[in-house]
């Protein structure tokens, strides 16, 4: 097989992986909004594709780099190795979809790339892997805990919805001012910048106790806009305010999901595109974004129809309680460059929100089975990645 043939094959598997991610991982954020009749299924699917695609291009770089170059020290991921890693990860995802077993894409891809890297003779980057492991362990308690706090706030009868919902909107807006996007210009030393830091860069002031007052001011300004916008809607009618917030939070979570998931498909191709082909980072992310967009448009309507009824029964408040931590954790993961499974975050959030209502009503057995499958995915993907890469190198005599 020629080098170009291999590049084409690896890219194709990457697009397929992105398509699978788009069809399965990016749609849950809008299910609560559809369940509350705040938006139609088709319009939501359209938005999910555009938002997740945009998130992939604007925020996908950090996790993509971790997958491609951060997991293993001492070796570069060759096109053949990238093919092996993607093939392994895509196979795991396909098995998950067809068998109905929970196979988190983040676990499969990370495991596969570690296995591939080891078989190339590299050393696992212990520091990075420890960080990732710690983050994964923290996801259930943190997501569940944040959902619990949010749900408790929303349930309190002494705090009216016209206050609690706008406060959450303000919080989300404040965080939005600080997320890093590829398109916002900044000083030459940074590749990505946030709105708040952009303002601070344009209007230099002396920092107080290491904090730039312009960053704080922009954050507060954003938070105020979010608060006032949703406050006006809730004052007009609480239901209208809740519906609007469900669409807003669904949008930012869909955007974040694109940014946090695309790297799972493009990461293995980082070295190939960035170094061997010398292309700028956004080219690879754009390829992944197209895959995610197509996957979301084709897969989301079916998935949304199935899940929106469930979220409707969960209720708007518990849905919000699950989505807010989803947004915060996904953005933290993007900022730290840590691959995450979106589904794990949402599962923990839904359970955490349930605990606030008294009893979660969860089945220990079912949770045990699901967590076991997560661990099995992690372990077997390392071994499979190692084996597939070794096999491909034997076959192609590389």
């Amino acid at each position: 097989m020629t080098a170009w043939g291999l590049v084409g094959l690896a890219t194709l598997i990457g697009i397929f992986t992105a398509w699978t991610l788009g069809a399965n991982s990016n749609s849950p954020p809008f299910a609560p909004a559809i369940g509350a009749n705040a938006i139609s299924t088709m319009r939501a699917a359209l938005l999910i594709g555009l938002l997740a695609g945009a998130g992939a291009v604007l925020q996908g770089g950090s996790i993509s780099k971790t997958i491609g170059t951060g997991l293993i020290d001492g070796v570069a991921i060759t096109p053949l190795a990238a093919t092996a890693g993607l093939l392994t990860a895509a196979t795991f995802m396909a098995i998950g979809i067809f068998s109905g077993y929970p196979v988190p894409a983040a676990f499969a891809t990370t495991g596969a790339m570690v296995g591939v890297g080891i078989s190339l003779g590299g050393d696992p980057s212990i520091g990075t892997l420890q960080g990732i492991g710690l983050f994964w362990l923290m996801v259930p308690p943190v997501s569940g805990g944040l959902a619990y706090i949010t749900a408790t706030l929303l349930r309190r009868e002494d705090i009216p919805d016209a206050v609690s919902i706008p406060v959450l909107a303000g919080l989300v807006s404040g965080v939005l001012a600080n997320i890093e996007l590829g398109v916002i210009p900044g000083p030459p030393t940074v590749t990505q910048n946030s709105v708040a830091r952009f303002v601070a860069w344009q209007l230099p002031t002396s920092s107080i106790a290491g904090i730039d007052p312009m960053v704080v001011l922009t954050t507060v300004g954003f938070a105020l806009v979010g608060f006032v916008f949703i406050r006006r809607r809730t004052q007009a009618s609480v239901e209208q305010g809740v519906s609007t917030f469900l669409v807003v939070i669904g949008s930012v979570v869909a955007f974040s999901s694109g940014g946090s998931q695309v790297g799972l498909a493009t990461g293995p191709l980082e070295y190939l595109y960035g170094v061997e082909l010398g292309l700028p980072g956004f080219v690879l992310l754009a390829i992944g974004a197209i895959g995610i967009l197509a996957g979301a448009w084709m897969g989301a309507p079916r998935l949304l129809q199935a899940t929106s009824r469930e979220y409707a029964q969960l209720g708007a408040r518990r849905s919000i309680a699950a989505l807010v931590p989803g947004f915060l954790i996904a953005q933290t993961a993007i900022a730290l460059g840590i691959p995450v499974s979106f589904n794990n975050i949402i599962i923990s959030g839904v359970i955490g929100g349930g605990l606030a209502a008294g009893s979660a009503g969860v089945s220990r057995r079912k949770i045990g089975v699901t967590v076991s499958f997560w661990l099995i995915t992690l372990g077997t993907s390392v071994v499979t990645g190692y084996a597939v890469n070794t096999a491909l190198h034997v076959i192609f005599g590389a």
């Binding site: 109905g100 929970p102 359970i351 969860v362 699901t370």
Partner: protein, 296 residues
């Protein structure tokens, strides 16, 4: 959830509101010949990958199964039968139906099947295939959407095999309940086949009498034709309901529904039932063999 009746209920699995009346009607016809009780069930599907799949079955039934409750509550109540309702939580429809069969031990199971399956390699659709292979009771798959208004006559084409009893039993029950004519029919491909076709028909009638006694006259018909399919399609024109037996024991052929019924259903707009007798399940080895031989 009540216990099994003296002879077992007739279980009917439903999913789409618009198909419930058709399936309940067939189940009621079968039930009147038995204990008079229909167990109406639906499966609340919760995958292991869904946040809602983490809740206990009790929580799901209480809080996250509104559509299923509505589906069961709105089902019609046919005359002369008692209806009990059963909501099962499972990862797939097939798993839920099979587990309900094992738990409630019904005498028969009625399921709907869409004649335009989305998966081309599935014989009747993935769910019906899996239920045919695994549910340890008589299973009747009724094609949905092609319901006969009134039933004046029922055709049961036979060619021997282990599913004749199930086919004749259902055909007889439907005919009796609707005061319709029952015709047991077989086709021989050439004159040399006439004897075996005749014996298939006789076996069918004997089976009918063994199950339902001499409660009604059974018409018999043997025909010689080059194409069995064409002959059955032509014969079906004069009837309202056609009940096929599944094919001979499935293991060797790797499939439970023979080529004749599969082709005939695409060429007739009559109500079609495919019957799979209680002992027609394919074991693990059979499924493995079917898979390996690429026929599944």
């Amino acid at each position: 959830m009540s216990e099994r009746g003296p002879e077992g209920d007739v279980l009917v699995a439903v999913a789409e509101p618009e198909h419930v009346p058709q399936l309940v009607r067939t189940a009621a016809d079968l039930a009147r010949q038995r204990t008079g009780r229909v167990r109406l069930m639906t499966v609340e599907v919760k995958s292991r990958d869904s946040p809602f799949g983490m809740f206990s079955d009790e929580t799901i039934i209480e809080e996250f199964a509104a559509d299923s409750h509505e589906l069961l509550d709105q089902a019609p109540k046919p005359e002369g039968v008692e209806i009990v309702r059963d909501l099962v939580v499972a990862r797939t429809v097939a798993k839920g139906v099979v587990s309900a069969v094992k738990r409630t031990d019904p005498t028969a199971l009625v399921i709907g099947w869409d004649s335009e399956p989305s998966r081309s390699d599935a014989l009747l659709g993935t769910t019906v295939d899996a239920v045919f292979e695994r549910a340890p009771t008589d299973v009747y798959a009724e094609r949905i959407g092609r319901e006969a208004g009134g039933v004046g006559s029922v055709l049961v084409p036979v060619a021997g095999g282990p599913h004749v009893r199930a086919a004749v039993t259902a055909g007889g029950a439907i005919a009796t309940e609707n005061q319709a004519q029952l015709t047991v029919f077989s086709v021989g491909r050439a004159e040399t086949d006439r004897e075996s076709a005749q014996s298939f028909v006789e076996e069918g009638v004997e089976t009918f009498e063994g199950v339902l006694g001499d409660s009604m006259d059974v018409e018999t018909h043997v025909e010689m034709a080059d194409s069995i399919e064409d002959a059955i399609v032509d014969a079906a024109e004069a009837h309202d309901v056609v009940v096929f037996g599944a094919t001979r024991k499935g293991v060797l052929r790797g499939r439970l529904v023979g080529s004749v019924p599969r082709h005939v259903v695409n060429r007739t707009d009559k109500t079609v039932l495919i019957a799979r007798g209680e002992h027609g399940t394919i074991g693990v080895l059979g499924r493995l063999q079917a898979m390996l031989s690429g026929k599944k």
